[in-house]
Amino acid sequence: MNAPKSDLPQGTLDMLLLQTVALGPIHGYGIAQRLQQISRDAVQVQQGSLYPALHRLENRGLLASTWKPSDTGRDAKFYRLTPTGKAQLKAETANWARLTEAIRLILRTADGGAL
């Protein structure tokens, strides 16, 4: 356990999940693994919130799922992005970019300012 882990900001989990699934059909465990790899263990996704989030997204029509054979030989539930999900991801990414840029600007201003 090296760097201190931070909690995900509210609402970003959905975006991360959509982004992860966007790379191709993947099962729940795979998503958890990939999230951990991508964020190099810096961001911890609570197991407890992963599946409810997946089911929520599926329910909202952003994800679709199918059961098909996996590497273990058993069927696993694979998630993939729906067209709605794709659009949503695009919108949220753009939104996120704007937000982070804004925050970056604010932070820079604060750094260089009277403080």
Binding site: H27, Q47, Y51, P52, N59, K77
Partner: protein
Amino acid sequence: MTGPAWFRRGADRELEAELRDHIERLTVDSIARGIEPGEARRRARLEFGGLDQMKDACRDQRAFAFLNGAGQDIRLAFRGLRATPIVTAVALLSLALGIGANTAIFSLVNSLLLRPLPVVEPQRLAFISSPRAISLGPLAPSTAAWSYSVWQQIERRPELFDAAAGWTTARFNLARGGESQFVEGIWASGSFFRTLGVPALLGRTFTEADDQRGGGPDGAVAVVSYRFWQGRLGGSADVIGQRVTVENSPFTIIGVTPRDFFGPDVGRSFDVAMPLGDEPLVRGRESLLDRLFLGVYVVVRLRATQTIASADAALRAVQPQIREATLPALPKPELDRYMTGPQGFLLVPATTGNSTLRGRYERPLVILMGVVVLVLLIACANIANLLLARGAARRHELSVRCALGASSGRLVRQLFAESVVLAIPGATGGMVIAWWGSQLVVRQLSTQTNTVFLDLAPDMRVLAFTATVALVTLLLFGMMPALRNAHVVPMEALKEQGRGPTSDARLRLTSGIVAAQVALSTVLVVAAGLFGRTFASLATRDVGFDRDRVLLVNINAQRAASDSEQRLPLFERIRDAVHVMPGVDAAALSSVTLPALSGGLALIYNVEVEGGAPVPATLLGGVANGYGNAVSPGWFHTLSMPIVAGRDFTRDDRAGSPRVAIVNQSFVRAFLGGGNALGRVMTLTAARDRTWEIVGVVGDSVYATLREPVPPIVYTVLAQAEGPSRMVSSLSLSIRAAGGSPMLLTRSLAAALTAIDPDLTFTFRSLADQVDASLTQERLVATLSMFFGGLALLLGALGLYGVTAYAVSRRRTEIGIRMALGAAPATVVRLVLSRVAVLVGIGAAVGTIVSVWASRFIASLLYGVTPRDPATLAGSVAILAAVGVAAAWLPVRRASRIDPAQVLRES
């Protein structure tokens, strides 16, 4: 919608498989990293967390997740309620009774006070009333009555309103002779149905063409109500064109009105309606159309562009013209007041129709509404307590579920679901009770001469009311236990296992609820006491005459003696014949029977005694200073009223002989300061040129109602009646039975009357019944408040029993130890009873304070008892104390029989 079961189960299986797959992979990865399989499995499970919690969380995300959970909650709730059938039954019954009582009283409030008439756009209807009519008070109709000629003037001015209609109510006798069969009738103008917008269900309604003096092109026509058609006419389709005999005249039925139309009068349902113009066909030369006081109510329909104010202004603009055109033959002072100032026009909204019941029942109904709300609160408290107690019993179960991962929100939801499962059948049961109860109440309102009808079919307003009540109730009794039990700390609850003292907080809450119940019950018992005593004082009031042995026969001789001059002699012949019948002790005639408002006719006078002090007009809302009655000799003897000075009327007091009068003692006090009355001379209303000499003084009696203080009464003798009062078509024969019930005489009387003249029509009623009928409102309020007071006591007793029993079971160990240490059973009894005493004491004290404060609202309904009557308050507290002891009896007995040895072994 929870979806089909197989679908839900399939989804659950999938979820399970998905989550297990995750754990499996976690394990496999760990093993791959060289961890021993058993350990790997353990770590994977640990890392993943509670499987059931995860499943719950995922389910919550599904479509209709809330409802899905709700379905499960409700299934669980049913199971839980079935497990404790007695608690469930008591809760359901209290709830149904509470909601039922509220809905029943609200149905009455709704149909009498709130519901618009079942006609087209009732909000555009208005009555032509007068300021005086509006100030007349509770016994008067909602609007003023005008003479037929005033109505004709309005009819002739169609530019005033969109439409206008006049009507008057009457009881029609359908019998051709013998005992009368009355139905409710309306005389209405030709524009009546058009103005109200009421179509015919069958045939047609009558129009202006039918409303001609003496009948229209189709002769005398009648429109009948749906109820009359279904009931008396058998509901046959060929009813149109049939004849119906009304007051001995044939009428052709031309139409049937729709089912929900009961007429313009709320509290009354018409059977037969006939055009005003046909009235002379029935009454002949005595038609009321040309008299001053037929009493036509006028309803108008405003144009869409008119407001009440603008229409009122237009109406007042023509008031002087109408006054000029209809000036009656009245003496000077009365004539000056005719249709001016307070007797002028005033337009008032008519959306809810006309009613004579409304004024009398508005306040009692509002108070009863308050009473049933209190009953409902008590019922809620009971159910809350029952659910709390059950919640405590299930604390262990809940804590186990909590420990196994059920979220606290989930537990609250499930406890709440139980309340919902109770509330729905409770509300449904309440509706049934209300339907039945409100019909029962309306039946109590009817008397022999006044059939009360209220349309009680539940409308949107009643349904909304019941739904709101059920919802509020649900929040009251459902939320408390739910929240109370949400904070189950698993470890503690598991340790405790139903023993130990942790539930003190619950006991405090429960005790508080019970004390509140006692307080509310006290208020209701006090109210029941006050209303009960009011009724008792009125029912046992000395009315001043013998009510128990007298039979009243109202005789109509209109057809038997078409020459009105011959009627009085005919009535006297009848009296003489009846007087000598076996079983008859005495018989006499009178125009008024007592109490007059119950009998249906009152005579009012404005009296001036020569040389006496003027007496202000205070009777019946300020219209008269004395009542009157025209009687035959022997009437006082028949009613056992003592003649305290002077003499009774005799047969020598006839037309042409000096006019004589007899007054009561109250008259002597009011007009003559209690001095000598005999020989004094007086004038009566409207006949200032004629005088009456007082020849006798009789004992006091009630007159209009039993509530009224004894009023001044002037008795005149029938034989000296002049003008229209000599031509009366009906009089009452009072008959005192020699022994036994006076009603036993009816059969032989009917035979005797028919033998005298087969065209006579008559009705029988005992004087006792007529006196009783005048107490309908008081009896109803007393009965209902006592019923609800009793219900409150029962519910309160249940609550008290519950909390005492619970307290005893909680303190079993303590009591056992005390007994082991030598406490006598009496000490234990004292210990438990002191608890009950504190609860009852606090509750009764608060209840008494609230009662004293609230008594101001019912003061106007009371009679013979003060609103803060100490005896009633003390009696109510005593009753509650007795109920408290009774409720505590079983638990106390159980406490005193605790076996110390066994308790000590257990702990």
